[in-house]
Assembly symmetry: C2
Homo-oligomer: 202 residues x 2
């Protein structure tokens, strides 16, 4: 059983978080989901609906998987050392660190992606790349795996990445079971990224 | 500006709700999202993470769009007359009524789908169909539009339906803008449903 610490902050992107949580959550014998915020509280998303974080970062818990969504709130949180220091500390102890969309900007500012390949939302690419000059940013990728770091492109790419992560941990068949249960057509090829071209990155 | 009342109850399915809310929520000049529960409260999903409903059904508010997700909790809520009566009342005044997955079982028990075409999750098809003997259940459809009622197949089909609903209300270009922003490959053909065959329905 792996414990997932999913960080949320004001202005997180709903689908960045809840697409992956749906898929991990269906395997409730394999993953335990925890929402973590600066303090345990109601946290308002970019779409203004609120989720509830039962855990606070001051608890100092370790997690097997650190998960960081994106959203407009990342533009503020990159300058929040309380959050980026917590990310660095939890990531160092975690087996895997995952991000969706501009969540990789937070990982970059925490310093954990230095020298690693990573990706992000293609519509926000240049801003995210500025947050981590030592990161090997990939301009065209649905998601990128580099050792324990798995980073996805924008919003719905998080679901494809999550199925990829489930396949890494539990095999392709389990990932396909989850996709079928969700009636989701998995984009299995992590190199296939039509959105890079749509946003003029290639 | 249309006000969406999205009903949540214990055991709602995360992605049924938050995939569509992501997409409607990106058009914040066109849609206002409200989570509604029996009482304003923290409501725990089927994946055990909690969302927060700011509104209660006893407020008696009208909504332009009624949205009902599915999830394991629907198995209990079909026998909750407080909820099904509220659905019937709000649906009668709404411009559109939408459901995802087994959410259509709640609409069926509320009686609002009688004589209408509708669909649901293909893995739960027979149970849902039993909840509404007078509904013209469609065994193969990504989503179904019948007058003001738009019902989708399982979980991730809710996102395709939502883009279809956005196209109905604001045109195809707006729907495609939302899909591109989410880096989502929209399955535009509402009749294309490979999951019906996977679950032996055709």
């Amino acid at each position: 059983m792996r414990r997932i610490g999913a960080l949320i902050f004001p202005g997180f992107e709903l689908l960045d978080l809840f697409g992956p949580m749906e898929m991990f959550g269906l395997l409730d014998d394999k993953f335990k989901l925890c929402l973590v915020a600066e303090t345990p509280s109601k946290v308002t998303s970019n779409q203004r609906l609120a989720a509830y974080a039962e855990h606070g970062i001051e608890e100092g818990d370790a997690y097997d998987i650190l998960f960081v969504p994106g959203g407009a709130g990342t533009r503020r949180e990159v300058d929040n050392p309380t959050l980026t220091q917590w990310i660095a500390q939890v990531s160092a102890q975690a087996e895997y660190t995952l991000s969706v969309c501009t969540g990789s900007a937070l990982l970059a500012r925490a310093g954990v992606l230095n020298g690693r390949k990573a990706t992000t939302n293609k519509a926000a690419f240049s801003w995210v790349a500025e947050q981590g000059p030592k990161v090997m940013w990939q301009r065209q990728a649905r998601w990128v795996e580099d050792g324990p770091f798995i980073t996805s492109s924008g919003v719905s790419a998080g679901m494809d990445m999550t199925l990829g992560a489930i396949a890494l941990m539990h095999g392709q068949e389990t990932a396909c079971d989850v996709a079928r249960w969700c009636e989701y057509t998995w984009h299995e090829d992590k190199a296939h990224d039509p959105f890079a071209q749509l946003h003029g990155l290639v």
